[in-house]
């Protein structure tokens, strides 16, 4: 049996999923019928698949939903993010999410920041600003479940908390996120208010390979672009760590909630908690790995690697200097 050799130059216009199918067929030396058979055998989603459909997928006549694409891609030991990161058009769309397109109408909720250059840094526990930034984020969220009773400096394993910040001139902070990886069980106790972050950290399993959930506790930016840049840092991490099956948000921050709703995600729970005679409303979201991959907005953010993110951000800077 012979196969048309898959070539980059010829296939530039082909859909990235079509290209992927051709590639796995050529790598495994199988026909469309054989591919169809393998899918029928290994996934209940394709129990009545026929080779005509496979041929249509390959020719790009139609393309299955992202969720089904993810299923196929993972059956062949790949990830949707890695095949879409080869798609120039897709990457261009991703970069548009984090780069300024209309500087004049740029809305910012930071008084001294509009669309200036900014950088993204990860801050770990050894960084001298870690405690300060963590306290700042806790104040920003005002979410009682992420407060600490003990002084922060006395807590062991605070290093499980991951912080990324966006900074503009003079290192002023214009965006941040706070997240950690843990188990769904611990996460559920938190979203049901039966535990707090302090206890989750204390009891967090040391072995990260047993963590199946990424818990995002804060994610914000002065502009939409900064928000997206910050989001891409943890969503990319989530997509890289295959053992993570669920992404969970727990927040009382209205603009993040709005953003998640706009991405068509539905809250798992909306709960009220009393704090100093004030009622704080905390919304939680539990999103499966497929839902992340099948969500075009989240997938666009997931494909951006930290290196690409920095490239994009510096290229914006260069553009402006000219």
């Amino acid at each position: 049996m012979t196969f048309t050799n898959y070539s980059d130059a010829e296939d530039q216009k082909a859909h990235v999923f079509s290209t992927f199918l051709k590639k796995i067929r050529s790598n495994n030396s199988i026909s469309q019928e054989q591919l169809c058979l393998q899918l029928r055998q290994h996934s209940s989603l394709f129990y009545n698949l026929d080779s005509i459909t496979v041929s249509r997928w390959e020719r790009g006549v139609n393309i299955p939903s992202l969720a089904k694409q993810a299923e196929i891609v993972e059956l062949y030991d790949d990830e949707l993010t890695s095949i879409y990161s080869d798609d120039k058009q897709f990457i261009r769309e991703s970069s548009e999410l984090i780069m300024e397109t209309d500087p004049i109408n740029q809305k910012s909720n930071h008084p001294y920041f509009r669309n200036d250059n900014y950088q993204i840094h990860t801050i770990d526990i050894d960084d001298e600003s870690f405690y300060l930034v963590l306290k700042m984020i806790m104040r920003y969220e005002g979410n009682p479940t992420i407060n600490f009773e003990l002084p922060l400096e006395m807590l062991d394993r605070l290093g499980d908390l991951k912080i990324t910040i966006a900074t503009a001139f003079n290192r002023q902070i214009i965006g941040h996120c706070l997240f950690l990886t843990s188990t769904t069980k611990a996460t559920l106790e938190l979203v049901n208010f039966t535990t707090n972050l302090e206890n989750i950290i204390k009891k967090n399993i040391h072995n990260e390979s047993q963590h199946n959930t990424m818990l995002v506790l804060s994610s914000a930016g002065a502009t939409k672009q900064v928000e997206n840049s910050i989001m891409s840092t943890y969503i990319n991490k989530f997509s890289e760590q295959k053992q993570l099956r669920f992404m969970c948000f727990s927040t009382s921050n209205g603009s993040l909630i709005k953003k998640l709703n706009k991405a068509k995600l539905e809250p798992f729970k909306v709960k009220n908690i009393e704090l100093l005679q004030k009622t704080v409303q905390v919304s939680s979201y539990i999103i499966t790995r497929s839902e992340v991959m099948a969500n075009r907005f989240l997938l666009k953010l997931a494909v951006i690697t930290p290196m690409q993110l920095n490239d994009f951000l510096t290229s914006v800077g260069k553009g402006k200097n000219i």
């Binding site: 209940s44 992202l66 039966t194 099956r245 709703n261 068509k264 499966t288 969500n295």
Partner: protein, 401 residues
Amino acid sequence: MKILIVDDQMFIRSIIKQQLEEVVISNMIQIEEASSANAAIAFFNRTNHPASNKLDLIILDLKMKEGDGLTLISHMVAIKDLETPLIIISSTNTRALSLVKNIIKKHRLNLIGVFKKPLNVRNIYLEFLQQNKKQKTKKSYTSPPSLCNTENIRNLINHDNLLLCYQPKINITTQKIIGFEALSRLYIKGDKFISPKNFLPIVEQTKNNHRLTKLVLNQALSQWKSINELKNYNLAINISAHDLDSEDFVEYIIGKHNKNNDINLTLELTESQQTINKTATSQAIVKLIINGIKVSLDDFGKSYSSLERLDSIPFDEIKIDKDFVTDIDTNEQHHAIVTAIINMAKKLNVKVVAEGVETIAVVNKLTELNCQYAQGFYYSPPIEGRYLIEWINNYTKAIGG
């Protein structure tokens, strides 16, 4: 901003009016008064059409001479005015107030709150603003995605868009897995995700239940067929009792089951007790049971809460609705309801599955109550088919079995 104050005492009306004018910042405030429910209804009829003339808020006293507060409430129910924000004020005791509150809630009027006299108008107004804001955001949560509507639902329910997840049912004492419930998700072109909460009502409305159930049944059976290990576990599919009205459909399920008789199949029945109590429906249920298909009563306590038929139809299990289970550690009423259901099921020799188990506190309560089986995010969120075996292996290893 247009506000209607309904109170039979003129001085109370004028106090509220005066204080409102102080608190409401907008100078567009227009305050109307009525001295009784009947007067208010007359006002309604005069002004509520056209809609642009609509009231922004009603402040209503409960006890009035000519037509009390309940009269106006019934009127609002009758004309289906579920939008106009309503504030109840009263000097009666709290018990009566909470009763009225329940009536209003039952009819889903837009109640902002119930306040006891003497009134603090500023607080009442602030509550109104807050609730109003909340409702606006809430609306944006629940509005179904425009891509899923009655016109295109038929096209959406096809094999390419359906993706099943499976949630384990666990024996609380032994921690062993007894089976899985198949839960459907729809993914659509443009790659938006729709949860059953949003598409099921439309599926019902457009009578596409059979189509959906058949797809679910086929996909789930093919999952169980493709992996031998899964045959150790029960497979549960959701089905609406209405579906059983069709003999062809019942035959279809029985046919599928006969072809796969090494798969332990349960149908989880949702729907009102009226449907289940219909002779035709109960005959269909019995027919399924005779053919070796187990039947379970879903959402018990919510839609089906009667003991009727529980003795005449040999249901395999009842599933306690998750709204009752999720907070039994803190909600005494729910604790009482769950206790009663478990005890009753024990006496009738029916299995009980508590749904919506999310925390260890709830697991402990269920253990105390001798509840046998549980399902919920505590054990696992719904799992996609491709991860199922891996989950089973990890879970079995973790419980040391």
